[in-house]
Amino acid sequence: MSEQIEQALDRKYEAGFYSEIESETFESGLDESVIRRISAMKNEPEWMLEWRLKSYHAWLEMEEPDWAHVDYPKIDYQAISYYSAPKSMKDKPKSLDEVDPELLRTYEKLGIPLHEQEMLAGVAVDAVFDSVSVVTTFRDKLEEAGVIFCPISEALQKYPDLVKKYIGSVVPRTDNYFAALNSAVFTDGSFVYIPKGTRCPMELSTYFRINEMNTGQFERTLIVADEGSYVSYLEGCTAPQRDENQLHAAVVELVAMDDAQIKYSTVQNWYPGDENGKGGIYNFVTKRGVAHTNAKISWTQVETGSAVTWKYPSCVLKGDNSVGEFYSVALTRGRQQADTGTKMIHVGKNTKSTIISKGISAGNSNNAYRGLVQMGPRADGARNFTECDSLLIGDKCGAHTFPYIESRNPSAIVEHEATTSKVSDEQLFLCQQRGLDTEKAVSMIVNGFCKEVFKELPMEFAVEAGKLLEISLEGSVG
């Protein structure tokens, strides 16, 4: 069977093309002057620059973490360019008609048409290309509802008080090495504000594209859902196929005020490197949300790309009765390495969290789930349920589970279930005997394995995720 699976997993990366777009790119290297330049280009308020510089100095004192179950050569932070933007963006196009058609074509090729009439109805998109936001669609419609959805650089101009109030409030500047770096050099990302009692009328989505060589992408997303509001947000990511590794160190902060709900979904398909582990994105991301009284934060992620993934979308369940959820599918193949999971920090009473993690390993890859469930002393009646399943395809890959449970409240209940299974010869044989080829069979078995997570994705994207998995599995059967 292994041979067949290997062949089936031997897929191509469809988003691996490069767009010929004239860019303004900083020379590589990082020091205070680079940070000042980024801040000046974005015409930021003084406090933002100071915040960046403080982060930078803190970062200089910090050590790169090495506890994750991943292995990669040392990153030379001076060899990275910290800013790159299409030249055509300099004059700030007022509408889509003024945007460089090559940029629009890039997104079209990725299946993200930015002309509103061609888009999926009901999804507003912020397209981030290297270090800048290219376009944000459906703004008028969102404005009618009082929803703010714009690039964070624009939010700093238009709503500086809102940004100042919440930025760093969930992921502090010095939270960790990569968060500190991001705080110093972040270039763009999305800002969302949903007013009190408002149900956001459409799905919001940010599509991140790395295009330039030797650049890092450091975006920052901040979503604030005011009391009693609801928003569903999706991010997607791709990058060209290159032999060099590229760094992506993002920070996402979610604030769900009392009775608010935030649903955050990710379909991550950064270039994973070739079968020998050459090239690919280092995806070192800090994502965290804070849920106030009766609020709910739900993370759903489908991770199929990146050479190395280091990512733990987390929930701080601060308010009583708040709810945190984490649904994850992480697929690794070739030489990919993933160390991903979540943290559920139960602070308030009767807080509830659910973790469903599905790890699929194929080829020579390594896939680790790392999760922390922490029950604080005030978290009376708190509950957690964790289910952590691993599926192995072939016999050269690894699946690892590192669950951490800390309970300082005797009334809290923590449940953990874990399984490891293989795509068996028998399952494949049954499918083939019923006329299905190996690839179809494997993708069906894997999709079945992931079903609990896929049903959490917004409908349009559940189909996409299934397809993505299918492409990712091409040639992986053995």
Binding site: M1, S424, D425, E426, Q427, F429, L430, C431, Q432, Q433, R434, G435, L436, D437, T438, K440, M444, I445, N447, G448, F449, C450, K451, E452
Partner: protein, 253 residues
């Protein structure tokens, strides 16, 4: 329909099938009986092309095509169906999705348009009723949490939906009570149309009271050692396999 000539096959380098000959014509039902370890299940796996079952000699053709040249799924699409003795579970994949893909793979082979979800559902419901499984079985994961009897009936349902040319039933009677046996047999009999052929592999004569075979073959030590009509099965029922004498002793050894 099916022609097997001097078939030799091994599993993990152990010879199991040792020179087997069999001709099955359209519409015929052949029962294959034999003691444990005679190679009955192996024959089904070899014909369907399961990995690990190596053919070292002989020829097998299905409707004139060299079966041994084809992949497992190609054989299936040529109309070869194997009802498993112990069907495996595929968690999270609904029976419905699974069968729809499967039926459409067969239709594609025959140059027919794929069925729409509604068309398929209609057929699937009928098949479900025919084997007396509740309709919610269509939504459940393939064999997930099914009882032994439910799995067997589910196999027959798949057979009905796939409309194969040659059906190999691998001990579809094992572990069934009389009522379930009747359901399975009715399902099979409903598919006898004078064209479709069956190979019914069984340890006991009992099933053959319900599915009347045209021929009965006794398989021992990898070969067909005796062939006859339905009365041969009754003989086995009465006096066991002792009449096999030397061949039987070898098989048991």
């Amino acid at each position: 329909m099916l022609s097997i000539k001097n078939l030799h096959a091994s599993v993990e380098e152990k010879n199991i099938i040792k020179g087997l000959n069999l001709e099955v014509k359209p519409g015929e039902v052949h029962a294959i009986m034999g003691p444990n370890g005679a190679g009955k299940s192996t024959l089904g796996y070899v014909l369907s092309g399961r990995e690990g079952y190596e053919v070292s000699d002989g020829e097998v053709s299905l409707n004139g095509k060299d079966l041994l040249e084809l992949e497992v799924e190609e054989r299936a699409r040529e109309g070869l169906f194997l009802a498993f003795q112990y069907p495996v579970e595929i968690p999270g994949v609904s029976n419905m999705e699974f069968m729809k893909e499967s039926v459409n793979a067969m239709r594609e082979q025959r140059g027919e348009e794929p069925l729409t979800a509604a068309e398929f559902l209609k057929k699937a419901k009928e098949a479900c009723k025919q084997v007396q499984l509740p309709l919610d079985f269509l939504k459940r994961g393939v064999n997930e949490g099914f009882s032994g009897g439910e799995k067997k009936r589910n196999e027959i349902m798949q057979m009905i939906l796939l409309e194969p040319k040659l059906c190999i039933l691998d001990e579809s009677d094992s572990g069934l009570d009389v009522d379930a046996l009747q359901v399975v047999a009715d399902g099979v009999n409903s598919q006898r149309d004078g064209e479709r052929s069956f190979i019914v592999v069984t340890h006991y004569q009992r099933l053959l009271d319900y599915i009347k075979p045209d021929f009965v073959h006794i398989l021992a030590d990898g070969k067909i050692v005796k062939s006859g009509d339905a009365s041969l099965a009754l003989e086995v029922e009465k006096s066991g396999y002792a009449f096999l004498g030397k061949a039987y002793e070898e098989a048991e050894a």
